[in-house]
């Protein structure tokens, strides 16, 4: 590898971002060397500057950012000195970019094929008909279903995982020398992630393309990269071959990243007391579309039920039935053995108080125009009748509980918090009602692993302190392993398997549970290869939707 020609050479790269009237450093002097055909993994939390560096490798800085210092040399071309015209000729042709959310990056008004052909035709690499033929070829290589026909669909007619693969095919259209993958699988389910990872790896290998693979998931990068570079707040922490990095990380920060998935709560025996909340034979539908089919499970005090499944499996709908947002077509929800009215509008204030919810996207779950004092204070004022000094004291107490300094934070707006802090406020708001039952809807999936682990620890601590019952909706099995007592596996609106956690994580499994479990990336560079081989050998499906 070391003898190959250097393709991209970045020296002393500094990037600054505008904040108010000042320029604050985002990246402080990072060096990066990428040889032809090599895959470099960039790892770091959000705010570490990974995406910014990725874009800088194309000579691009986002609005409000500027490349203030350093050299970016791409195959002998100085990208910082290059004219817009030169850059335009490079981008898409020799350097391509795959964005995190293909769904947001495709233009919804054009068919996939039209978007695929744009770059090769514009750059004069091939004619329209050649490009179309080439697209079908690449779609086939990416193992997309119906490679001849898929190009004539609109982005919304294609699933997320397929869209991400179509986007990778599109990036390949001019056979670039370098592709930048910016968290291409972060928004996908584990089972879908596998297909995309396998497809990306194959195609990169086949064409000998160099790639920068940006992610915050170590297990994923271990499958993809030859070398890994770790970033922390715009500084390089360390860089090494994947094997070395996984086996013997040098820096403390790297070690802490490696240890993140170590959190596991104490095992509890089987539940003995009466359940706090039970779903009994619930079926529900959105109009004519049936989403839940006869599901039943119990949630006990001081216990966490993890509801697992891919997107579309009906786990969030189960939560909507519980809260009363979606009255079920059949079945009932019991609270302390008594049936709750199906519609939240007919529930009493007391019934509403005891079932609280924490949302996935803290950004949309907190009113951006209210201060934390009001956001957290409102449930306390409303349900418990706290006023004036007592209310302020309660809000401060709740802030301390979620490990935020009250004096500093109480009058802030949500926009002045980090992602993890916002999620903590969501927790505090739920706690303010002093509930007995909390629904956590994918509360950690929008967060970095280190931050997510902090949230899980906090939730665990609060559970034992206040005897809370949790319903934990997630698609991440690592989270389930960390926090669950009982597991409910859902697929297509049905409960596939349920039981206490130790049982669920030991064979034998239902085939779908097996698929889910085996799809969780492991910190082993050969894991993906082994898994794919094994699946082929057993004749198991490569993924859920094929």
């Amino acid at each position: 590898m070391a003898d190959r020609e250097v393709l991209l050479n970045i020296r002393g790269l500094k990037i600054e971002g505008k904040s108010g009237d000042d320029w604050l450093p985002i990246v402080n002097g990072v060096n990066l060397t990428l040889r032809k055909g090599e895959v470099l993994g960039l790892i770091g939390e959000s705010g570490a500057g990974k995406s910014t560096i990725g874009l800088a490798a194309m000579g691009f800085a986002r609005d409000g950012c500027r490349i203030s210092d350093g050299v970016i040399d791409f195959d002998g071309i100085d990208l910082r000195a290059a004219s817009q015209e030169q850059l335009r000729r490079l981008r898409g042709k020799r350097i391509a970019y795959v964005a995190q959310s293909a769904a947001a990056s495709f233009n919804p008004a054009h068919k996939l094929m039209d978007q695929y052909c744009e770059a090769p035709v514009r750059h004069g690499v091939m004619s329209r008909s050649q490009a179309e033929k080439d697209a079908v070829e690449l779609y086939r290589k990416m193992q997309l279903p119906d490679p001849e026909g898929i190009g004539f669909r609109f982005p919304h007619q294609v699933s997320g995982g397929q869209l991400q693969r179509a986007m990778t095919a599109m990036a390949m259209s001019c056979r670039p020398d370098l592709i930048i993958f910016d968290e291409p699988t972060t928004a996908l389910d584990v089972t879908t992630q596998i297909e995309v990872l396998a497809a990306i790896r194959d195609i990169v290998e086949q064409f000998g393309t160099a790639a920068i693979y940006i992610t915050h998931d170590l297990a994923v990068v271990a499958q993809m990269a030859d070398r890994i570079k770790i970033l922390l707040r715009g500084d390089e922490v360390e860089e090494a071959d994947t094997e070395t990095m996984l086996a013997a990380p040098k820096h403390d920060y790297t070690k802490s990243l490696w240890a993140v998935r170590s959190f596991q709560r104490a095992e509890q025996g089987a539940a003995t007391d009466k359940p706090v909340v039970s779903l009994r034979n619930i079926s529900a539908a959105y109009g004519p579309v049936k989403v839940l089919d006869n599901i039943s499970f119990d949630i006990h005090a001081r216990r966490t039920v993890a509801v697992v499944g891919e997107s579309g499996s009906g786990k969030s709908t189960a939560a909507r039935v519980l809260t009363g947002l979606l009255p079920p077509s059949r079945g009932e929800v019991l609270f302390d053995g008594e049936a709750l009215p199906p519609d939240y509008r007919s529930r009493t204030r007391e019934q509403l108080r005891h079932a609280q919810m924490i949302y996935q996207m803290a950004d949309t779950a907190l009113n951006p125009k209210l201060t934390l004092r009001k956001i957290i204070g409102r449930p306390a004022a409303m349900y418990l009748g706290l006023r004036g000094r007592a209310l302020t004291e309660r809000v401060r107490e709740l802030l301390r509980l979620i490990e935020l300094e009250p004096d500093e934070y109480i009058d802030r707006l949500p926009s002045e918090l980090s992602g993890g802090q916002k999620q903590r406020i969501g927790i505090a708001r739920a706690l303010a009602a002093e509930p007995r039952f909390i629904i956590c809807d994918e509360v950690t999936s929008a967060l970095d692993q280190i931050v997510a682990e902090g949230i899980l620890r906090l939730l665990d601590k609060l559970q034992s302190e206040f005897s809370l019952a949790y319903m934990f909706i997630t698609h991440d099995l690592a989270t389930v392993r960390a926090i669950a007592d009982d597991v409910v596996v859902m697929q297509k609106g049905k409960v596939v398997e349920q039981g206490p956690k130790p049982e669920m994580f030991n064979p034998p499994h239902e085939p779908y549970t097996e698929l889910l479990l085996s799809s969780v990336p492991e910190m082993d560079p050969d894991w993906l290869t082994r898994l794919l081989e094994e699946r082929t050998r057993k004749g198991l499906p490569q993924s859920a939707d094929q």
Partner: protein, 307 residues
């Protein structure tokens, strides 16, 4: 040569405006304190200019009887007297002092326009937010009613209603407010629809919050920025509609001084190359621009972070 003079004058006017705006901002910063002082210090010159103009209009409107050299409705000279030391802007078709009537006009026209816009906003945003929050039949009913009202050209509709209900100041305010509230309804409903689907509204509903709390505390703070911008625009439109109606004879009735009707009454002078009838129109234009400068600034502030 005339063109050159025009540019020279234009440059002088702009320079004086900038100087005035700068001076106004300096004074305003000096007399205020705290949060407001910080906001004013960072205000752009256009906004300062806008505030200055509005401030001057306000002073003139409040102190009209003390500033105006002659009464509003009294004939003090012969018809169409030219500008002179006694009658600064000459006299009108009946021999009333133009300058005094301009000053009284500030009070009438601006006051009525402001009352109308405020009323239009009250009606439009209350129903718009209700429609978005409650949804269902209420939304359908209100939206279709508004569609019907908007299908009729507004000026014709206003003329029709004014001929039916008569032309008192109160009916004038009511009629224009109701017609303009349909536009406000549409905007506030559309903006609120985007907010209503957010998780924090769902959280508030699940908490068991009432409609009033939902609208005033959770939704309203998130829709104020576009509503404020619309207020500025709407104020200008209302202003123009009143002036247009007055020009047509159905607005503010003589002998009350009003800029719109003043243009109409003295329009003949334009034929003789006298620009006096254009001055009330200029006053309208200046206020319109000033209001929009201030609204732009407020909008910029509302869209940013707290600091």
């Amino acid at each position: 040569m005339t063109l050159l003079m025009f540019f020279v004058w234009l440059a002088v006017v702009i320079a004086v405006s900038i100087a005035l705006a700068w001076g106004f901002r300096a004074v305003a910063t000096a007399v205020t304190q705290g949060e407001m002082q910080r906001a004013l210090r960072n205000a752009p010159l256009t906004a300062a200019f806008g505030m200055l103009v509005i401030f001057v209009y306000l002073v003139v409107a409040i102190l009209a009887p003390m500033i105006a050299p002659f009464p509003e409705r009294e004939v003090v000279g012969s018809q169409f007297m030219p500008w002179s030391a006694e009658h600064w802007l000459g006299t009108d078709a009946l021999g009333r002092d133009m300058f005094s009537r301009m000053i009284y006009g500030t009070r009438n026209t601006v006051g009525i326009a402001f009352a109308t816009t405020a009323l239009a906003f009250l009606i439009g945003s209350v129903f718009g937010l209700l429609a978005a929050t409650v949804g269902g039949w209420l939304d359908q009913g209100l939206s279709r009613l508004v569609d019907v009202m908007m299908a009729i050209p507004s000026l014709i509709f206003a003329l029709l209603l004014l001929t039916i209900f008569g032309t008192s100041v109160i009916t004038l305010i009511m009629v224009i407010a109701v017609i303009d509230s349909t536009r406000v309804f549409r905007l506030s409903r559309a903006v609120a629809e985007g907010v209503v689907v957010m998780d924090y509204i769902e959280a508030a509903r699940l908490r068991g919050e009432g409609l009033v709390y939902l609208i005033t505390r959770e939704i309203l703070p998130n829709v104020t920025a576009p509503l404020v911008a619309e207020f500025g625009l709407r104020f200008c439109f209302v202003f123009l509609s009143i002036s247009a109606l007055s020009f047509l004879g159905l607005g503010i009735q003589p002998p009350t001084a009003d800029w719109g009707s003043m243009v109409r009454e003295n329009a003949t002078l334009i034929t003789f190359g006298d620009i006096t009838p254009l001055l009330p129109a200029g006053a309208i234009a200046l206020l319109t621009v000033a209001v929009n400068f201030v609204v732009d600034w407020q909008l910029y502030r509302a869209s940013g972070l707290k600091e």
